[in-house]
Symmetry: C2
Subunit: 414 residues, 2 copies
């Protein structure tokens, strides 16, 4: 009968939540702040809910240093909802911009149509999630409008695990967006920093969209370089059920439905339209206030814990990852780290045990007896994956590093 203290969980998500947040949430679920009603029962349009939403937004903005010209949205549908939503909405914003540039004279209609023929959505493919996002864009907009900037499988035997050199990237000239996934969970590949070639140039605003579902709140982000950033809450922020979008306010307005249809472009279902969600302060439809409450509690805790905000968490994340990678590197004959050293994820540490599948089974089994769980690799690739999200403690990382050493020294892979 293990308690929470007995378990160090390294699952890829949903992730651990801080025990004190869960204990508070448990109380709030039954009777929130002595109101006689639980937090999941209070109306999403009550003052209580509005306060929870606005505080969570303000605390996220403070922790990540999000400037005022960006809006924060709470939505549903996770990363898979958002990779569709970013494509719909940023193509809309691109059309709105073109439309404004060309003016509304009769002759402009043809010019706009011809501009749309060259519409491009750029995708950098470095793992399973960016691959899925690009496939969805092809499905919604047609492959003629999707440009694969780079695909790390091309120079790596069809496998993920690298990020192609920026000098080889094939960026479009006037893309509606450039999409990438900042941390790929399946193969453990993370962008070491914001790509140089995607920095906004001159007067042109940013056009970059990033999926940060698995590494948000773990390092400083140059927000002004992005059109939009999104992430599911369930890894570093809170519980499954809400998805957060940080989007530049000037990109919210959408062209008329009539114009989009005339141009042969798809429009989002209303629940994926950022403009509608922003106008209603994330209450276009019923939002899970319980999930926003949990996220809010996690943020308060992080703000309290790290006076220098996300940079404080960044130092901890890096040192935890370093502990585990060093333990693996100390035994190169036993462990093979999956991705290239330069693009190793701090969040999902993927490795194989040299020898046999049985050795990996043995590793998982022995780890579990020590309370080190959730270590099985993604079903598509196998192997071992230690997910090192914010709620994994330094102590937990140390225990795993120590076990990695012991397993190797004792010839666990024999």
């Amino acid at each position: 009968m293990p308690t929470r203290a007995d378990i160090n969980y390294f699952g890829a998500g949903p992730a651990l939540l801080p025990t004190e947040v869960l204990e508070d949430a448990a109380k709030a679920l039954v009777n929130y702040n002595d109101t006689g009603l639980g937090i999941a029962e209070h109306s999403h349009r009550s003052e209580i809910a509005t306060t929870i939403i606005n505080e969570a937004k303000a605390d996220l903005a403070s922790y990540l240093d999000i400037p005022d010209n960006y809006e924060i949205l709470f939505m549903q549908g996770g990363g898979s909802g958002e990779f569709s939503a970013t494509a719909y909405n940023l193509v809309g914003a691109w059309v709105a911009r073109k439309h404004k540039e060309l003016g509304s004279e009769d002759s402009s209609a043809e010019k706009l149509k011809s501009a749309v023929k060259n519409l491009k959505l750029d995708y950098i493919i470095t793992g399973g999630w960016s691959k899925k996002a690009a496939a969805e864009a092809e499905r919604l907009f047609g492959s003629e409008h999707v440009n694969i900037v780079a695909d790390s499988r091309k120079s790596n035997d069809g496998k993920f695990g690298t990020i192609p050199e920026e000098s080889t990237w094939n960026l479009s000239k006037d893309a509606a967006m450039v999409y990438y996934c900042d941390n790929e969970t399946v193969d453990g590949v993370e962008f070491p920093q914001f790509p140089k070639s995607l920095e906004p140039k001159g007067d042109d605003g940013p056009i970059v969209v990033a999926d940060m579902s698995s590494n948000i709140l773990s390092r400083k982000i140059p927000i002004q370089n992005f059109s939009a950033i999104f992430f599911g809450a369930q890894k570093n922020l809170g519980s499954t059920g809400i998805t957060v979008v940080i989007i530049k306010k000037s990109l919210l307005p959408q062209p008329s439905v009539a114009l989009m249809k005339q141009l042969g472009l798809p429009i989002p279902p209303r629940i994926l339209e950022y403009e509608a969600i922003a106008k209603s302060n994330s209450l276009y439809n019923t939002l899970s206030i319980f999930d926003v409450y949990i996220a809010g509690r996690v943020l308060k805790k992080l703000l309290q814990q790290y006076p220098d905000k996300v940079q404080g968490q960044q130092a901890v994340s890096e040192s935890k990852a370093q502990l585990i990678y060093s333990a693996l590197e100390a035994h190169p004959s036993v462990y093979k780290i999956v991705p290239d050293k330069t693009v190793r994820s701090r969040m999902n540490i993927c490795f194989r045990i040299q020898g046999s599948d049985a050795a990996e089974q043995n590793f998982l089994k022995q780890a579990a007896t020590l309370g080190l769980t959730g270590l099985k690799g993604h079903r598509d690739v196998g192997g071992i994956r230690a997910s090192n999200y914010n709620s994994v403690s330094v102590d937990g990382a140390k225990k795993l590093a120590s076990f990695i050493g012991t397993f190797a020294s004792q010839g666990g892979n024999q």
Copy 2:
């Protein structure tokens, strides 16, 4: 400092949850079944999660008597997501059927195109929710494809509160779907039973879609009459965050994206595609297992409480509604019930207090001092609304009925 026992909450949703379910959920949140991990932390792909999902599906099927040729899906996005999703998916199913009927010869392509010119989505508008659903269909498919079968405002001074006679309905001949909202929460209008004219005829399958977000699990439903039924969990089933779809399995397969585009028809973003959700047993993307767990606990409780399943709950729902309506009817000079008597909702009891706005304020204030809360009418229409969902106890309904009597006798509206 009220406890849960002090409060009888009549809010329109999210609604009350049974206290014992919340108490169990509070424990599960911290440490689920002594696993050392909370229920929101376990992977949605774990055996624990699969068991929770499959049991909730089986219990829902048992409680509502859902036949084997229907699939149950857990999704995100609420009613507003689903009124978009039903339109996308049922138009897809309609095209798939036409395509099959016409065969794949070259000459069929033109016939299919011409059939699509006559594509109709039928909407019966009886309140704010069906109105929004029809507007979304017009937005996605174009108003030429949306047929308003009936609109209760037309014969009622522009206001909702009635359901037009079936004999006046203008149903399309070969609609892809006929959509209605079984219970409208804003004005308190509920279909008294399944509409005669929508019953499936001869060999033709059903084409009816109903939004049952606000009255599911409160009465027996003739499932076989429906293509699809959907509802958010947060009123009668569980907590905000999951949405349930009950859909006839034969309607799941969608035509190719290429065919839909050729026909100029929109396709759903992948997260709203029923076929994808069904194939993955509702795990196409990360599902909130916490919310499915809560729904599952509520269902277990209902199954235990009512040996004759939903019919048992139906009797209770009706008697609770009767208590409140009778109290209102006893004082016709004080209370004006909003909808027509024949279409009064058992779930949302909407009434005005004759006299002044101040009298309504007074009613709300006095009610609150007795722990009768959540009674304020929807912001679009004002007045009083007592939402009488499953978790409102008979005792709670009695207390409200008694207060309605006292307020009137004491001349509370003077």
